[in-house]
């Protein structure tokens, strides 16, 4: 089945979508697609069939989300912990990834038509090189698309992601691009894999499990959590509609809690110390000079440092993709020459 589906909505679904869209719709939904293996067991299929059905359901669910105006979807496709499964199952999942990313390349026109941006979040280094190269190609091909966003978490855990952000920040400090005092919640978020995404509004987990399993722990801190008792391959449009209604019922309370969140008090105003010294010096030289002017200057300098640091990180990501694309080109050339 294709990544992008173009089925016409039935009248009843069209009606339901219009009714739901008259209320608040989450703009970013994250999904833990749990239950593929239990579905396979229940129906006496191989596990491979369960995972394939899971992918088919993903393609369907994306269509339903985009119908509702949910422009960004993040899915938990493969955890770092899943490498502990049997080699046979891991190989099967890697093969499924190869097929699906290859299919993505073939559907370039359709993806461009709907302007879908694919991002892959996770520690790519743990994946086979050919899959890393395919991921790099998909990401590069769709990076300028901006109508809909699909983030696929592969070789991912949230704690690993948090450590990745901490390493980025430590690198910035040790290279002198940013100051230790520049580290704040908002800068931290720009160092996570989800740096280009808004915080998730709604998290859906299927199969009846009621835990987050190391998925987007930071990002979903203030998200609405919807635990649904249905196996992922059996998830239907009605389940999605129920989840959106559930989100709408929690919308006001969560918005209120978000606005009453304590402000980022973790960033000590270390500007104070240089300002203090500068003020003391200024008071000696120019009695009556304003402190605010110096504080503004220091804050502007901070913003400049942060801007340079974020450009540095973006360049690092682009360089990684370019290296993978280059290595794939070299591999293709070598294969061609052998023939």
């Amino acid at each position: 089945m294709s990544w992008i589906r173009e089925n016409k909505r039935s009248l009843i679904h069209d009606f339901c979508v219009r009714v739901l869209k008259s209320g608040p719709i989450p703009s970013h939904v994250v999904i833990i697609m749990d239950g593929n293996r239990r579905f396979a067991r229940k129906n006496n299929f191989d596990r491979a069939v369960g995972h394939l059905r899971g992918f088919d359901k993903l393609a369907e669910a994306l269509e339903w989300c985009w119908d509702l105006g949910i422009t960004e979807v993040t899915i938990y496709a493969f955890s770092i912990e899943n490498f502990k499964r049997s080699q046979e199952e891991v190989d099967c999942l890697m093969e499924l990834m190869r097929k699906k990313f290859a299919q993505l390349m073939e559907e370039k026109e359709l993806i461009e038509k709907y302007s879908v941006c694919f991002r892959v979040l996770g520690d790519w280094n743990r994946l086979p090189l050919d899959i890393q190269q395919m991921i790099a190609k998909s990401v590069a091909m769709t990076r300028n698309n901006n109508r809909a966003f699909l983030n696929i978490c592969i070789s991912y855990t949230s704690q690993d992601e948090i450590c990745y952000a901490m390493r980025n920040l430590a690198e910035g400090v040790s290279l002198g691009i940013i100051d230790e005092s520049d580290i704040s919640e908002s800068l931290f978020e720009k160092c996570l894999y989800t740096k280009k995404s808004a915080p998730p509004d709604l998290l859906i987990r299927t199969s009846g499990e009621v835990r987050l399993s190391d998925f987007l722990l930071w990002q979903s801190s203030y998200s609405v959590l919807s635990f649904v008792r249905v196996l992922w391959p059996e998830f239907s449009r009605w389940h999605l509609y129920s989840a959106v209604i559930f989100y709408q019922r929690n919308y006001n309370a969560v918005q209120k809690a978000r606005t009453s969140m304590p402000t980022d008090q973790s960033q000590p105003d270390t500007d104070c110390h240089p300002v203090q010294k500068l003020s003391e010096q200024t008071a000696v030289n120019e009695p009556g000079a304003g402190k605010d002017c110096n504080r503004q200057e220091l804050q502007a300098q901070r913003q400049e440092r942060i801007g340079k640091f974020l450009l540095y990180l973006e360049q690092k990501d682009d360089d990684r993709i370019d290296r993978l694309l280059q290595s794939q080109d070299n591999r293709d050339d070598a294969a061609y020459n052998q023939q």
């Binding site: 869209k21 390493r167 430590a170 801190s221």
Partner: protein
């Protein structure tokens, strides 16, 4: 324009219907409780009675329970009842959290009311019974606190606020950057086991394996993001006038969860 208003009205009707259904369910539940157990189910029970009921009904206990209150209106007496019951059934670690940090600011009040509650429960337990045991989620027999020949295990209570969640992770990030800058550690050292040890500091407490979330808001609202990676989350409608039967039902539900750890 007219159709937009019509769709909006229909949506409101859907939400009202769901609210009515939920209200009817709450009323039925309360009536059932009144009919089956009578008035006074929220009254403090004795420690031996709690232990007996827990060992009869529960498959396993969490080692660390998070009590997350997402309601605006906090009732100290009810929060303390939940803590006291948790201690009585034998839960070793208990953490209280509310998203405004009120509980942390009023820790002294909570501890004082907790002592009063524990005294009431001990006064109610006139006959000392033998200790009963319930497996905790590590499979280790966990002797419940009590008199007689049993050893007393002192449960650990902590009260946290939003500053112990994301803001603490930011402090850790700053600290690690400082260490890398001063060559005390290498950047590559910043990996999950190392960061986990730094976040915990001197505490060897396990992560919460169960959160009981009290309130209609279906979100953890900032509760310890790092530590909740594998936490089971069970929601209860409110902590106001919470009764022991509802608390036990939530613990019972926990007993049927199964962790696969990615496998």
């Amino acid at each position: 324009m007219t159709t937009t208003i019509l769709y909006r009205v229909l949506l409101v009707v859907v939400h009202l219907t769901i609210s009515l259904k939920e209200l009817l369910a709450v009323i039925c539940c309360r009536m059932m409780k009144l009919l089956t157990s009578g008035v006074g189910d929220g009254e403090p029970r004795s420690v031996p009675a709690i232990k007996h009921e827990a060992s009869r009904r529960l498959k396993r206990l969490p080692v660390h329970l998070g009590i997350v209150v997402v309601e605006e209106d906090l009732h100290v007496v009810d929060i303390v009842k939940i803590v006291a019951w948790s201690m009585a059934v034998g839960i070793s670690y208990i953490t209280i959290y509310d998203y405004k940090g009120w509980c942390k600011k009023n820790k002294a009040t909570i501890l004082r009311v907790l002592e009063e509650q524990k005294e009431k429960m001990e006064t109610n337990g006139q006959n000392k019974t033998k200790c009963s045991t319930v497996n905790n989620s590590n499979g280790v027999i966990n002797p419940l606190t009590g008199g007689g020949d049993c050893q007393r295990q002192k449960p650990k209570l902590q009260i946290v606020g939003p500053e112990d969640g994301r803001q603490h992770l930011i402090s850790v990030a700053r600290h690690l950057s400082h260490q890398v800058l001063n060559c005390e550690i290498k950047n590559d050292d910043i990996a999950v086991p190392f960061v986990d040890a730094v976040i915990r500091g001197n505490d060897l407490d396990p992560d919460p394996d169960l959160v009981m979330k009290f309130g209609a808001v279906n979100s953890l609202l900032g509760f310890l993001p790092w530590q909740t990676r594998l936490t089971e989350i069970i929601s209860l409608p409110t902590h106001h006038r919470i009764d022991f039967a509802s608390f036990l039902t939530a613990l019972d539900q926990f007993g049927y969860t199964e962790q696969r750890y990615g496998k």
